[in-house]
């Protein structure tokens, strides 16, 4: 064990001198975040919300006022048909129809159903739809809690969520984190091992008594530590420079990071088994990473993925990872809420470990 830890320490120390790795590991994702964050600041700072208040009573007015008080929303009123046209034209992101029977009161013992609001979102700007829906849900919950006088602790937490200004950067940050974990897992393994194998570095190390198991354990441990450090720095910059708010627990995020990094390290070792030379490494790794960057909701919501690709996109490892990270970061999900995603990642760990075990060769 001390051999593994000492070797891991040496690897980490050498990593700090590897400019290429530092660039791709730290600056590259930050540039991405800055670029996308700034580009979309004006356009996505607000969610354009159209409300058709069919009820037009005191309760519905209170609800509309609550919506107007959220700085993220630019609220405009109108009829349903009129608003839908503007939604199609791209002027609005969400249209909310408040039904005529709307009122804010506890529902009596299931006697009559609660009033149902209709929400229409634009497929053109899905992030706004996601963010807006989240805020609307929060406000409805907040009002429900206030009316039913339950769960004061949860209600306090929810208030904080609804009050903040959800922006594209908030949506983007977990996606960039997921992408970084994927890149670290796959690229850092494929490039390092293919090069070291070709230059005889691994052969030289295997001429010493260190066991293959300890050698690989240190290499894996180093990358898991790097993944956690990278995620912490990314989130740190996001919070400090871009004022991103992480709603869920950091501990849960770190846990998801470690699970995700494990998946992609296994995939990285499997891919390395398929790559014989340094020149073959970039195309093969990109074949694995590029589709996931676009299908797994890194930059945009997965709602924009074409229907025929959906079945594939839904089960990609990065999809599970991004969904889990986003649920925790944006919606404050706990471990119990992201069990489906963690289960998906667990299946990928098993599959990719078997592949890595069969394909990867040290020498």
């Amino acid at each position: 064990m001390s051999q593994i830890l000492r070797y891991t320490g040496m690897l980490l120390r050498s990593y700090t001198r590897d400019r290429t790795a530092l660039f791709f590991g730290f600056f590259f994702p930050l540039i991405f975040m800055g670029l996308f964050g700034i580009l979309n600041f004006g356009a996505t700072g607000n969610v354009n919300l159209g409300i058709d208040d069919e009820a037009n009573n005191a309760d519905s007015q209170r609800f509309v006022d609550a919506m107007k008080s959220v700085s993220t929303f630019k609220v405009s009123a109108g009829t349903r048909d009129d608003l839908t046209k503007r939604l199609t034209a791209g002027d609005l992101d969400i249209v909310l129809v408040i039904p005529a029977n709307f009122r804010i009161a506890p529902v009596r013992g299931g006697a009559d159903a609660p009033p149902t609001m209709t929400e229409l979102t634009s497929a053109a700007r899905p992030e706004q739809g996601v963010i807006g829906t989240a805020i609307i849900t929060q406000i409805v919950d907040q009002i429900s809690f206030a009316v039913t006088q339950t769960s004061p602790i949860v209600a306090t937490k929810r208030e904080e969520v609804a009050g903040r200004n959800l922006r594209y950067v908030d949506f983007l940050t977990p996606g960039i984190v997921g992408m970084t974990i994927m890149q670290l897992g796959i690229a850092s393994v494929a490039f390092a091992f293919v090069v070291d194998r070709q230059r005889g570095v691994i052969r030289r190390i295997l001429a010493t008594p260190i066991s293959r198991r300890n050698f690989l354990a240190a290499q894996v441990l180093e990358r898991l530590i790097l993944a956690v450090v990278q995620v912490l720095i990314l989130i740190g910059v996001a919070v400090l420079a871009f004022k991103v708010v992480i709603v869920g627990s950091m501990l849960t995020l770190i846990l998801v990071t470690i699970v995700g990094a494990t998946v992609f390290l296994c995939i990285g070792f499997a891919v390395t088994g398929l790559v014989a030379t340094e020149n073959a490494a970039p195309p093969v790794t990109q074949l694995v990473t590029l589709p996931q960057m676009f299908l797994s909701g890194v930059f945009f919501s997965r709602d924009s993925v074409p229907a025929f690709l959906k079945p594939v996109a839904d089960v990609l490892p990065l999809t599970y990872l991004n969904d889990a990270l986003r649920s925790v970061a944006v919606n404050g999900a706990g471990l119990a809420d992201i069990l489906p995603q963690l289960a998906g990642l667990a299946v990928w760990i098993v599959v990719s470990f078997v592949l890595a075990f069969r394909l990867f060769r040290l020498d």
Partner: protein, 252 residues
């Protein structure tokens, strides 16, 4: 003197090629021993079997009292190696490379002392990638010494070095021998074998065809009536080169 390497009827086949074809020899403790031969003679395969990096098809090899086939890790604990065409991992300082390999042997070493022994003390804080060819070979030797090996295996240690660096490395090998470490080397350079080695084995087509001290082999050849036209030269081109360029190392 007792044998520290003992090889009996070693064989290794790659497909159609019998790379090592029934090789037997012994290396005595404390000597400098060379395995000579043209490319493809089976030198490197033989050495890699002794180093525990490849397994033989048949035959036995005992190195530093350990049967290589039964306990390759045990052999690796007791020997130092310098491999042909291998490099060190990147982004480490010269001193860190020594520390790194000490970890592989589960040891703690005085890296500066080892670097001093090979004349690399002043390069300790430099990245190992930045070292010249000769410096890199000397670092290889420092690394091969981290576990205080009983036998040091050097596979073509001077290939690609300039005359100054070669001579410098010879000095180093003599120093190591003086400290009691057995040195087992392979080389293409016969002058190197002649000045460095106590005994040499000449290998061809997987077989050892001669084994003795360089002087004895030359005497035997002359005894068979061999003669070559004598050029009455008191110096050769290398002497001219070294006289003009000096003996000190040029490695910056």
């Amino acid at each position: 003197m007792s044998a520290i390497v003992s090889v009996r009827e070693l064989r290794k086949r790659y497909g159609e090629i019998q790379a090592v074809d029934g090789v037997s020899f012994e290396v005595q403790q404390g000597e400098v021993f060379a395995l000579l031969g043209p490319n493809g003679a089976g030198k490197t395969t033989t050495v890699e079997i002794l180093e525990g990096l490849r397994s033989a098809d048949s035959g036995t090899a005992i190195v530093a009292g350990v049967d290589v086939a039964k306990d390759p890790a045990g052999v690796k604990e007791r020997i130092g190696v310098q491999l042909q065409q291998s490099t060190f991992p990147e982004n480490f300082l010269t001193k860190e490379i020594v520390d790194l390999f000490a970890i592989f042997y589960r040891r703690r070493v005085d890296a500066m002392a080892l670097l001093r022994a090979v004349g690399l003390e002043d390069r300790a804080k430099q990245r190992s990638e930045k070292l010249s060819g000769g410096q890199r070979q000397r670092l290889s030797i420092a690394v091969a010494m981290v576990n205080e090996p009983q036998v040091l295996f050097l596979d073509e240690p001077t290939t690609g070095l300039d005359p100054q660096a070669r001579r410098n490395l010879w000095e180093l090998i003599r120093d190591i021998r003086k400290r009691g470490t057995t040195v087992f080397l392979t080389t293409h350079y016969l002058d190197e074998a002649e000045v460095l080695c106590d005994r040499v084995a000449i290998m061809d087509s997987g077989k050892i065809i001669a084994l003795d001290s360089p002087r004895a082999l030359i005497t035997q050849l002359l005894g068979r009536g061999f003669s070559k036209p004598q050029l009455q030269q008191q110096a050769n081109l290398e002497d001219v080169f070294l006289d003009l360029t000096g003996h000190e190392l040029r490695e910056d």
